[in-house]
Amino acid sequence: MEKILLRNIDAPDSRTLAVYRARGGYRALEKVLSEMTPERLIDEIKASGLRGRGGAGFPTGMKWGFVPKDSPKPKYVVCNADESEPGTFKDRLLIEKDPHAIIEGTIISAYAIRSHTAFVYIRGELVFGASVLERAIEEAAAAGFLGKNILNSGYDCDLILHRGAGAYICGEETGLLSSLEGGKGWPKVKPPFPATHGLFGCPTVVNNVETLASLPWIVNEGAARYVAIGTEKSKGTKLFSVSGHIKRPGVYEVDMGYPFKKFLEEDCGGVANGKKLKGVIPGGASMPVLRADELDGVTMDYESFQAAGTLLGSGGVIVMDETTCMVRAAWNIARFFAHESCGQCSPCREGCHWMEKIFQRIEQGEGKPGDLDLILSVSGNIMGNTICPFGDAAAMPAAAFIKKFRAEFDRHIAEKRCTVSAGQ
């Protein structure tokens, strides 16, 4: 498998401009600025089939195409580096090891929509990453890849690094924009969409770190080569960050369509300590969990995960072995979402906490008959009825844990204790 995203990370000092350039860095930007119109660039990215790597998987070229060409307002590009999804740490690796790929991708994205101001919104906790990016932006600016008249092309673009203040919801693109505007990180009611009314009411594209970091390779090698990798609807490579009860946790770059079971057993070395696999969340904490017996034939791409009843999401693979109490795992995730709900709309504000309280009660041996159906009902009432996808992100795992491990939940309620975990 060819490395597209992780091609530079093992090189010594990969985060410096010198090493990045020595490895072919900023050639894509030169090519774009000297040879391609924004329209051709958008067509090329559309042809590559690249889909947003933040979780939703929306086609990147199409997203750019929604930005009105004739708007008199300034246009903005925002690199979403607010990676906060539990179990997800792929963007962090790119930020710390290959910041120039992100910067180059961001300038390419800005050029595509004729924007002259771009932002990187980085998660507040990524203090080291922010310092790496800041240094890289300074280097890029000093070398003429940012600022006025980039590479004598007449194209101007500034890149501004902005650190978040610690809220999961600021990774949601409109929550991010509210925060970047200086307000509370509240997602915006849609429509209108960011493509026409984004940052400060101006046309805006928000792209994930991994999406942007894919662009230089696609521009250099051509869409045809990218399309050749992957499946019919999932093109190219994808980063997966693997954590939990696994022998070799870490970030892996995988061709879309790679067999999931093989990935876990061979690439990641299988479940740690010789234990048996119980369940795995393939796309970050907000995605439905799969049981070990559901993995046969599942491949690592948008359509196969969807067919299996879950979603690719951010590619945060969380592995749970046979000693894991699924009640406790579900409560853990529910507690996270209750804590991170922004509180703006009623179903999420009230429902996330309600589910968390019931999970907690069950876990602590105070569950009652009917509790599970109540959680399913509450999650169903949140699902699809909120301002932003956070509601679904909280509702989906709650329902999935109960549906997939119902017997264990029932036993936990009946016996008023955990019957799985050692030492519980």
Partner: protein
């Protein structure tokens, strides 16, 4: 606007492109339940109560943020919609204290009303409720209960968009989200109590009104605020013949949905205090009660012998009263100085959203009726102080207590002294004011809340005043006093009601020609531009 047709619950509705589904439905008389939506505020979309089903859309959509498009088919009563509504009600109530028995909003609470209509199921919430701040004083008139709050942010948006004073915001996350004052702020802008009106629940209540009356006992009388000449439409809400509160009535031509704090509470100073219940006449040893016939005869005789005379009508008197007053004064002394009370003050930017610079709600109407003219009230006061009059007839204004008349370089003391020097002074008012105490004859009258008639606001809109409460026995309506005095002075035509007077003024006053008293309705009639 481009006309489009949509269907709501199978009913075809003609509306305009760009209108939201909730507006189009409201125009067609279909109520879609909502909390955060307010027609005069930006869309927040946070309560999720207005979720409706729209054909070809997989998810339910909020009606407040969905624009009507040709052929759109909306369902507001499908099983999916009804269940979503019930679910939103359930979410809003799980942490609500359910303290309706001690909540002032009970009876006019959207949580109560929608629960009865869209939920009616027992609580499934068996956990500990979250607690929040209680009884927090936000400002001089507004108190906050964080547990009743549903975070619809109407109050926050009102203060951002209408007053632009930004006192409130939402702090914290999740179910700890709550409305709070910005540090160092108090909610004391001149329109602050509107946040109580638009709060759909009992989170923001009116400190002046709360705990006084349960709202279902209130008698609601549509009327006009007497605070200034903007003429805000109000509902005068009374209990046991006392005014308990004003609430704004919607009139897009005048006050939209709003009412200023000063206007809202002006009824206290205008209606409270010991009332006059019999005419009084000056005798040795002071004012003594007398009967109406004696008092009215004394007025005719006294004023006739005290020329030149000044006559001052209150800016709160109606058009009908002004019309008869003008006729009376001209009968008594054709050369009398006749004025309506009018003074201006400087307004702040926020006050200008609603307020007019005066405190004379009907100064324009009174002038239309022939009582006074522009820039002539203060010169009349100067003449009074200069001793140019021997007699005066003052209606409804406590001139002796007037302080700092800016361009008179004097104070109330001078006016008081001038009034005391008059050889004959008639004062018609509701209470024994310092001015009334100087009078030779005092006539007990009524205030705005007890009378019917019309006011003409600053912009020339004729609006209807209605009697919310009944005056005390012994007092007479101002128009009736003037009418009886006219009779005592020898005029034959006696009016029997404000409606009859209006008919007469609609014949005599050119700008009002053709207006019908019964056509004024609850929103008033605009006089044609260009006419006085």
């Amino acid at each position: 606007m481009e006309p489009v047709k949509i269907s709501i619950d199978g009913r075809e509705i003609a509306t305009e492109k760009g209108k939201t589904v909730i507006q189009a439905a409201a125009d067609a008389g279909i109520a879609i339940p909502h909390y955060c939506y307010h027609p005069k505020l930006a869309i927040a979309g946070n309560c999720r109560m207005c979720l409706v089903e729209i054909e070809k859309m997989p998810k339910l959509q909020i009606a407040c943020n969905t624009q009507a498009a040709e052929g759109m088919a909306v369902k507001t009563q499908s099983p999916k919609v009804l269940e979503a509504r019930r679910a939103v009600m359930e979410f809003l109530l799980i942490n609500h204290p359910l303290d309706c028995p001690i909540c002032d909003q009970a009876g006019e609470c959207s949580l109560q009303n929608y629960y009865m209509k869209h939920d009616l199921s027992a609580s499934r919430f068996d956990e500990r409720k979250e607690h929040e701040r209680k009884r927090e004083i936000f400002g001089p008139y507004v108190v906050f209960d964080g547990e009743r709050c549903i975070k619809c942010t109407r109050c926050v948006r009102f203060l951002q968009e209408v007053t632009r004073t930004d006192e409130l915001t939402v702090v914290n996350r999740g179910d700890h989200s709550t409305i709070a004052l910005f540090p160092g702020q108090i909610l004391d802008n001149p329109l602050s109590v509107n946040v109580v009106d638009i709060c759909p629940v009992g989170a923001l209540t009116d400190r002046d009104f709360r705990f006084k009356v349960r709202v279902w006992y209130l008698k609601k009388t549509p009327s006009i605020c007497p605070g200034c000449s903007t003429g805000c439409n109000v509902s005068v809400e009374s209990y046991q013949n006392r005014i308990a509160r004003f609430k704004p009535r919607v009139n897009e031509e005048v006050n939209s949905h709003w009412l200023c704090d000063e206007g809202r509470y002006c009824f206290h100073s205008l209606t409270e205090g010991e009332r006059l219940t019999a005419p009084m006449i000056r005798q040795e040893g002071g004012l003594a009660p007398t009967d109406w016939d004696t008092a009215l005869q004394a007025v005719i005789a006294g004023l006739g012998a005290a020329l030149p005379m000044a006559a001052v009508l209150s800016g709160r008197n109606t058009n009908e009263e002004a019309f008869v007053f003008a006729r009376l004064i001209k009968k008594l002394s054709p050369r009398a100085a006749l004025e309506v009370f009018y003074r201006e003050r400087t307004l702040t930017e926020v006050e200008k959203v609603l307020k007019s610079p005066d405190r004379s709600p009907n100064f324009r109407g009174a002038r239309d009726m022939g009582v006074g003219s522009e820039n002539s009230f203060e010169p009349l006061m100067s003449d009074l102080i200069a001793g140019k009059f021997r007699g005066a007839y003052i209606v409804g204004e406590d001139l002796a207590s007037l302080a700092d008349l800016a361009d008179l370089a004097g104070d109330g003391g001078k006016i008081q002294a001038a009034l005391a020097r008059l050889s004959f002074l008639v004062v018609q008012d509701t209470r024994l004011t310092p001015t009334a105490k100087l009078a030779h004859v005092v006539l007990p009258a009524t205030h705005f809340g007890e009378k019917e008639g019309t006011y003409t606001n600053r912009r020339g809109r004729v609006q209807q005043l209605n009697a919310a409460i009944v005056p005390p026995a012994g007092a007479l309506q101002d128009w009736e006093i003037f009418s009886r005095l006219l009779a005592a002075a020898g005029e034959r035509s006696l009016f029997a009601s404000p409606a009859e007077i209006f008919a007469a003024l609609a014949r005599d006053i050119p700008a009002y020609r053709g207006l019908g008293y019964e056509n004024i309705g609850e929103c008033g009639i605009q006089l044609e531009a260009g006419q006085p």
